[in-house]
């Protein structure tokens, strides 16, 4: 059982990051609270991955400070596109990678096997431990990597575009599973390109384009003004079943629509 840490778990104060002379993040102030669920949205190259890596501690800011709660454990789920699906490894072997430090231990102990089986069972893939990772569906594959992160008993789960490249049904499956884990007290930060499918469902959103353009609930942050500042393109915000829906501004597509109607 994860011990509770004092909140905030992580605090970024005035953080800037540069690759060479180019600024990737500028003057970022950001907090990750215990039990929080934050989505980071922004265009490609806006610094989402760098922000995640700064939270993980693999990128050192050029300026500013990062404060972590003592004893903070972070689980990381990479993008599925970066996974080598042809690697000769089973589901259970992937999950066990969360315990990399034990020397002279090529094989899992009885206790480790039980822990892996338990976590796979909790995520609904208990029967798949011996399967090769390539033989799973998209949602199952995502669960394997979440299981690996959870085996480290983290206080915070950081995910890089967890629904990138998956179909609608898989996206639903993943977001419901994450919501379930969050209600059990696990704090989460994820990056996503999917404004309507993911971001509008989250309790907290950060709009990022090197700087934080807005932070708060979807209703407060997903406005035409903030979205245009973030993406550099005009967008309209509609409402459907009490939730914001983001669409491209129709006037911006007039020339394309004209092409279609003339054809």
């Amino acid at each position: 059982m994860t011990t509770t840490l004092p909140t905030p778990l992580l605090t970024l104060s005035g953080v800037s990051c540069h690759y060479g002379h180019e600024a990737v993040l500028e003057a970022i102030d950001f907090e990750v609270s215990g039990g929080g669920f934050t989505g980071i949205v922004g265009p490609s190259g806006s610094g989402k991955t760098t922000l995640l890596r700064t939270l993980l501690g693999t990128v050192t800011p050029t300026t500013g400070t990062v404060n972590r709660a003592d004893g903070l454990r972070i689980g990381y789920v990479p993008q599925v596109e970066t996974i080598n699906w042809s690697f000769p490894v089973t589901v259970a072997e992937v999950v066990l990678m969360a315990r990399p430090q034990r020397p002279f231990a090529p094989w899992a102990t009885t206790r480790e096997r039980a822990e892996v089986a338990d976590i796979l069972e909790r995520l609904g893939i208990g029967a798949l431990g011996r399967r090769h990772i390539r033989e799973l569906s998209g949602g199952q594959q995502q669960r394997v990597f979440i299981a690996r992160a959870l085996l480290g008993d983290p206080h915070l789960l950081i995910m890089d575009e967890p629904t990138s490249g998956v179909d609608v049904r898989t996206r639903h499956e993943v977001i419901h599973m994450l919501a379930d884990l969050n209600t059990k007290g696990l704090a989460m930060v994820l990056s996503t390109h999917d404004l309507n499918g993911i971001a509008t469902h989250l309790p907290n959103i950060v709009c990022l384009n090197k700087r934080i353009m807005g932070e708060g609930s979807p209703r407060d942050v997903l406005t035409a003004e903030v979205l245009e500042q973030t993406y550099g393109a005009p967008m309209d915000v509609l409402e459907h079943a009490g939730m914001p829906i983001i669409v491209d501004r129709a006037s911006d597509w007039a020339d394309v629509i004209a092409l279609r109607t003339s054809a």
Partner: protein, 322 residues
């Protein structure tokens, strides 16, 4: 080369026993078996990291170091080892920065070292004789010391692989996440390079600079065609490598062909046999593993997309991130 005229009456026993009358053949059999097994073991990491070219590159780089050692009278293992290690770390560093793909980094760094060795050959004619044996491989000069060195290096390598099995597996599978999870991946990569240099240095005498790459690549490829498990792939590849070394050495003796060539040919025959049985599908997954590792190494593209087998959900075609 060895004359095969000593083979007496027919029979498998004679074929196996007769060569053992000679001490240098006994030495060579041990060295070839250990060299094959050692290369097979480390080749698993090399091929899965998409660095199949590293064996070829490092052996050529070590050739440069060997030339310098011969020219200045330095011990071969010390001088060439340091040279090879420096080259390996250079390749590793360039690759980790993801500026260029691993194969390009290996091509640039190791060919420069090889060219340096060739240049030394031209300047110091007395170097030439000892270097030729290094290029093509020879069992004639295998000494008791060589036997002890390769046994020692193999035992040390197995101990290190067992001790660091988990970080080695994690780093080979996903270096970025391994680092986030607390694995010191740069050290693990350096350790792998150190082991690889040791394997190449001790195997080069019998396999030769030009053929050692095959001993590092072919056994893991065969093993990958036979299994989906990493641990099984490790011992299968080692066993195939050791078996090829032993059989190849016997063939070398009886057919009067260089040991490096016969070992590689035995590897190829096994590959062809496994391919005939398992079909191109098994071979495809080894190619995809290497391609995916290469793509991940330079951060350019997606890994091979998942192919759900009888699953209820499927992934749409994946698009590389900008």
């Amino acid at each position: 080369m060895i004359t095969a005229g000593v083979i007496g009456s027919s029979g498998v026993v004679d074929v196996l026993i007769d060569p053992l009358r000679y001490e240098f053949v006994r030495h060579a059999l041990v060295v070839c078996a250990f060299a094959g097994g050692l290369c097979g073991l480390l080749g698993v990491f090399v091929t899965l990291k998409g660095m199949s070219y590293i064996g070829h590159g490092l052996s050529h780089a070590i050739f440069g170091g060997a030339a310098i050692c011969a020219a200045i009278g330095l011990n071969f293992f010390v001088g060439a080892g340091i040279w090879g290690m420096a080259t390996g770390l250079g390749v590793s560093r360039v690759t980790r920065r993801k500026l260029i793909a691993a194969d390009a980094a290996i091509g640039v760094i190791t060919t420069a070292s090889f060219a340096f060795g060739i240049a030394l050959l031209g300047l110091y004619s007395r170097v030439k004789q000892s270097i030729e044996a290094t290029v093509f491989g020879s069992v004639l000069g295998v000494s008791t010391t060589d036997v002890l060195v390769i046994i020692g290096v193999t035992i040390a390598t197995v101990v290190v692989v067992v001790a660091y099995y988990r970080p080695l597996l994690f780093t080979t599978f996903d270096s970025d996440v391994a680092e986030v999870s607390g694995v010191r991946t740069e050290r693990i990569d350096a350790l792998l390079m150190l082991l690889l240099c040791g394997a190449i240095l001790t195997s080069m005498k019998v396999l030769g600079v030009t053929l050692i790459a095959a001993a590092l690549v072919v056994p893991p490829v065969i093993a990958r065609m036979l299994t989906n498990s990493f641990s099984r792939m490790l011992w299968l590849s080692s066993a195939i490598g050791a078996g090829s070394g032993l059989v190849g050495m016997y063939l070398s003796y009886h057919l009067d062909i260089s040991s490096g060539a016969t070992i590689v040919l035995v590897n190829f025959v096994i590959f062809a046999g496994v391919f005939a049985v398992t079909g191109p599908r098994a071979l495809r997954r080894t190619a995809m593993a290497a391609n995916a590792a290469n793509a991940a190494a330079v951060g350019t593209g997606p890994a091979a997309p998942a192919a759900p087998a009888g699953a209820e959900l499927s992934l749409e075609p994946r698009i590389g991130r900008v």
